[in-house]
Subunit: 82 residues, 2 copies
DNA sequence: TTGCTATTAGGCAAATCTGCCTAATAGAAT
DNA sequence: ATTCTATTAGGCAGATTTGCCTAATAGCAA
């Protein structure tokens, strides 16, 4: 009999999705001619957060997707089309 | 001169969005005739997690949205249409 | 060069989510 | 009532995100 310590499963992150979403947001932002800082101000989010999302470093939430979509004047669903 | 401790801003959560997303996922799941447990198995997610998402209690992530959409056989963007 | 703006990087604490588990509740059918 | 399945609830620790901040880097214009 041996006792084995089984590590917990990590949270699921799809880096492909994170990267693609970030690129999509960046595209829409640039179409509007906004800087990251400007978008952050309009959303009342931190610049660093916008940057992390665009770079695909974080697995952001539905609420943030809706907030950003609204600010960019696009449908939230559109940000997931890739 | 007084020193004031300013509480940090809470994370942004749009409960309307969370609830609507949950309802949408539930609708699609029921259309497939799946139980929450079955969907959870297919996604390799916890049943409790599926339940919390459907009830709109949590502000879930893009990766999870894509995972669930794939399992339900719908486009991720479709889950954000409401 | 200098100056200015934009982007990227990263640290830190607190908030939140997720995985994992058990249990309670609801509802239907027998 | 009992049994069975489905849903809901909730606790807990660890992982991740977020808010807040400062700084470094890139790029461009004058």
């Amino acid at each position: 009999m041996t006792l084995v310590l089984v590590p917990r499963q990590k949270q699921y992150r799809d880096e492909q999705v994170m990267l693609k979403l970030g690129q999509k947001i960046r595209d829409k932002r640039l179409q509007k001619g906004f800087s990251q800082a400007h978008l952050a101000n309009l959303c009342n989010l931190e610049l660093s957060q916008i940057n992390r999302i665009e770079l695909g470093k974080i697995n952001t939430s539905v609420s943030h997707i809706f907030l950003i979509a609204k600010t960019l004047g696009v449908k939230p669903a559109e940000l997931l089309e890739f």
